[in-house]
Point group: D2
Chain length 132, copies 4
Amino acid sequence: MDLIRATLPLVEPGRTEIHLPHWDGIEQQHGFIHGGVVGMIADSAAGYAAMTLVPADASVLTVEYKMNLMAPADGHGLIARGEVVRAGRTLIVTRAEVVALRDGAEQACALMQQTIMVMRHRGEKRESGAAG
Amino acid sequence: MDLIRATLPLVEPGRTEIHLPHWDGIEQQHGFIHGGVVGMIADSAAGYAAMTLVPADASVLTVEYKMNLMAPADGHGLIARGEVVRAGRTLIVTRAEVVALRDGAEQACALMQQTIMVMRHRGEKRESGAAG
Amino acid sequence: MDLIRATLPLVEPGRTEIHLPHWDGIEQQHGFIHGGVVGMIADSAAGYAAMTLVPADASVLTVEYKMNLMAPADGHGLIARGEVVRAGRTLIVTRAEVVALRDGAEQACALMQQTIMVMRHRGEKRESGAAG
Amino acid sequence: MDLIRATLPLVEPGRTEIHLPHWDGIEQQHGFIHGGVVGMIADSAAGYAAMTLVPADASVLTVEYKMNLMAPADGHGLIARGEVVRAGRTLIVTRAEVVALRDGAEQACALMQQTIMVMRHRGEKRESGAAG
């Protein structure tokens, strides 16, 4: 996240926000922030939201996600809001929205739905992967 | 794509490959390449594959995609292979696979399915967005 | 929808509900309602929600959807709630939740995110399909 | 599957086919087979493909799936082909294609990507659900 200059100003149980200022290096050809970057902060916001609900010795892994890019990420910054919809013992279902800030208003630009896996024993992680 | 040091060595009608070497800045906490970066190259590989099938005065926009992260992106580099499954007049359905290169072998690490919109009149793009 | 005995008791602009009673023919092997039926009512609830926001001479087509089946559809009936997240000129992004009714309470059992296409000229529909 | 008159003529390790004849009750308003039915056979074909790769005392559960409806399901029958892309210990990633049979040719009408969970201890199934 450092690479793209994002911050994580809000972390509550089951809910987080990632903020990303607009800067030149993350623009795509039309001056908007690249969809891949939008995906990365949505994925991370929802993943961190899941992390708030697992035990301290467990970790989380993104199994899969689905993202709709609804409008160009055009503005002076982005906010990604992640939340847990259902937390099971093994799998956590989350969603995230990304809004662009422009002229003091928020415009919805992406919507994501995601499945997270809870890894309870750290030692297993390397071998297994999300579908391991 | 320059930001993450990716290249596009293969571009054929309906098919592309993006290559990404492993370098320190794109690692996540466990030494693997971040899932968001994996998503970005899969999205781009499939998007460029769609672009090869639209008229020169049209452009393409990612409407949505769904990505399974199947194994850690662990190796000395990644290859994302994008291909068009069905090209319609307005929408193009694509898929992409991302493999990690390790010890001379390929390991599948991500699978993506994507919907692309064809924008035939450049002037409309700014207003419309993917769902505009 | 008649085939599975579903009803549509709520239709508001951008929002609908489909109700499905539990009956023997829609059970899968474990006594729960089949995931495919859950998918069908979620898809329909969201599709009808989109339909409320398009002109009378237009129709809608499901481009794609993504569904998480979060818990068994176990109870004396299901409610699917569909809503429009963003309505564009060509594409509409929706989501739906399906809850199971059991012992007077609702349990979330499915979450869906969907892309709908607006077909403005009826004559084009047959040729085009969602990606046509 | 009996309800919609589908059959399962091909079952190989990691691969299945479901066949569905066209009959009046499964048509939607335009004479095509309903997208929900297309989703149901794709989901089932891929789920059965996963089932071929798990131990006899384990069962499988659909965690989530994403489906593109690429063309109307128009013809005298449908074939859904499911295959396993990666089989892990806990999760299996699959995909399926649905084609419509018309005038002796196949037309691709749906593409699906799916995540399946392996349930190794039957007793746990009821409590847990896909995200349980």
